[in-house]
Symmetry: C2
Subunit: 321 residues, 2 copies
């Protein structure tokens, strides 16, 4: 029984709201506005090391939620913070709040409520954030809108966070500059908030890449009732990842997780507009066409020789590994 | 440094929204509607025993959030559930989801999103719920609206949950019928949702009694910039609590916590309307006038002889005890 099956078995029910359990965000209509809402829980020892820089932990805890809002095309508005702390550690909280609130300020996303409690020793320190964004009703975007024939795109580069974890575990050796670059991707992910907003009306479906590209595109494929054909050679990878053996490149880029890029679909007619939207961000974002949506309901990755690419790692599943 | 000081020090900032960190709910305007939003985190070993009935845990996890919505006068609409589980225990999840969703169904409050993760062994099992309710903009109610001269009211009876904990700890002896009654109050709290809605336009301020009557009225007093004079003899107590020594009665009723009743203020002219609102609930709720709001900015409890009542327990503070 994996995480997704557990959620589906006990908690999925018919819904009045626009999008429910299983999407990046829930969408609720309030008056003449639509709100996108998402929640993520992070645990010390699972999502971050207990000795990790608390400013980075604060940044990432909010970033993963803003990334979900970006997928929905929502502009961040406010968030709630629940904390379970093994101790009242003022130095940790000071740095944590600085990392958290710096990112919040960058996107005008206000902390407006929360809950603080003491975790019974030895913890773990647990952070749960619920973030809320606005999206015009006519621009609402889910995982479910992809059509056969749409292009499949991804922002930035994928696989670096997984490579950083592999290096940390001693499985991959990297020169210092590459190591610093991939660790930065792991510890300080940059949610694609502006791109998400600029893709309103262009992208037919979107998801943020948090569980690994294949796993997340798999969710999009399933919800949209289509398939996808991905061209491995087109999948954007950093210089650091490209130095690795091809098997590791494929494991990291396709099944790695923690990328917080956007995977999205758009009709071929929108290609120029998509490139323009990405280039027009205050800090321009690269977007790359990596495949096509198909009618087959299968998710297939082919390399340049036309052979199927298989990864040795499963898409991220908390209860399977 | 206590919980409230930690929150205030690192996370309180000027806010654009209607009510922010420190109120039961945050209030955000969306189009022509106002949403009340609240979040609570519950940990095994702290808020419930690991061996507790999972159906009761599911019920209470949502009930404490609905109680916050009730204070704001909001009608529950939907909620988000984040879970950190030490193991994928299908039997536990099955019972938990039944307790949770039965209460959700009772109030038409839909589960629309969440996050599930595995807690590193040995846990603790952690539940974080964020609940969202609707309230008409003109009926928005906070902790901050009490005026000197207003009556202070409380719903139901207070202190039973604390008495159940004292009995569990072997500090208080109770006959079986009383023990069952107070344990029911501890394990299956009934959020005053309907009363909260019916007090729209009548109550000038409200708070739910989760941290202990004095602690919570203290928050209300502080936010409203007034004081309160409470008549100990008027504080409503159950038959079970009334069998206890007066010192324990005062500790439980004034500083006990976990009651999930509403403490609220209303002008004396609204007395008949308040009683009618409470009596008109589908399941009528008792409401009792226990004091008066004053200009002194002090919170004082007097007994029948006019002597000040002091409790030996501090209002609930996670980091102090």
């Amino acid at each position: 029984v994996n995480e997704f099956e557990l959620i589906a078995r006990f908690f999925t029910r018919p819904s009045r709201e626009r999008a429910g359990v299983g999407d990046d965000c829930a969408l609720i209509d309030a008056g003449d506005a639509t709100l996108a809402i998402t929640t993520d829980m992070l645990l010390a020892g699972r999502h971050f090391l207990p000795e990790a820089d608390p400013a980075a932990v604060g940044h990432k805890a909010l970033a993963v939620n803003l990334s979900d809002l970006a997928a929905a095309g929502a502009r961040p508005r406010c968030f709630f913070l629940a904390l379970a702390l093994p101790a009242a550690d003022a130095a940790w909280l000071d740095a944590f709040s600085r990392g958290l609130l710096a990112l919040a300020d960058r996107f005008g996303c206000e902390l407006i409520g929360g809950d603080t409690t003491r975790a019974p020793p030895p913890g773990p320190l647990t952070i749960c954030i619920t973030a809320i964004g606005d999206v015009p009703r006519e621009a609402v975007r889910t995982r479910g809108g992809a059509l056969a024939g749409d292009d499949l795109w991804v922002s930035g580069e994928v696989g670096d966070a997984a490579l950083a974890l592999a290096a940390q575990a001693g499985e991959a050796a990297l020169p210092a500059a590459h190591l610093a670059a991939v660790r930065r991707r792991l510890d300080w992910p940059q949610p694609r908030v502006e791109l998400g907003v600029r893709l309103r009306g262009l992208a037919s479906a979107a998801i943020d890449v948090s569980d690994g590209l294949l796993g997340d595109v798999g969710h999009l494929v399933e919800r949209s009732g289509v398939g996808a054909l991905i061209d491995w050679d087109a999948v954007p990878r950093s210089p650091a990842l490209r130095t690795q053996p091809v098997g590791r490149q494929q494991d990291c880029a396709l099944a790695g997780g923690d990328d917080y890029e956007l995977a999205f679909t758009a009709p071929p007619a929108a290609r120029a507009a998509v490139l323009q939207a990405a280039a027009g961000c205050r800090k321009p974002v690269a977007v790359t066409r990596i495949g096509t949506m198909t009618t087959t309901r299968e998710l297939v990755v082919l390399d340049a020789s036309g052979a199927k690419v298989e990864t040795t790692r499963h898409p991220y599943d908390h209860f399977a590994r």
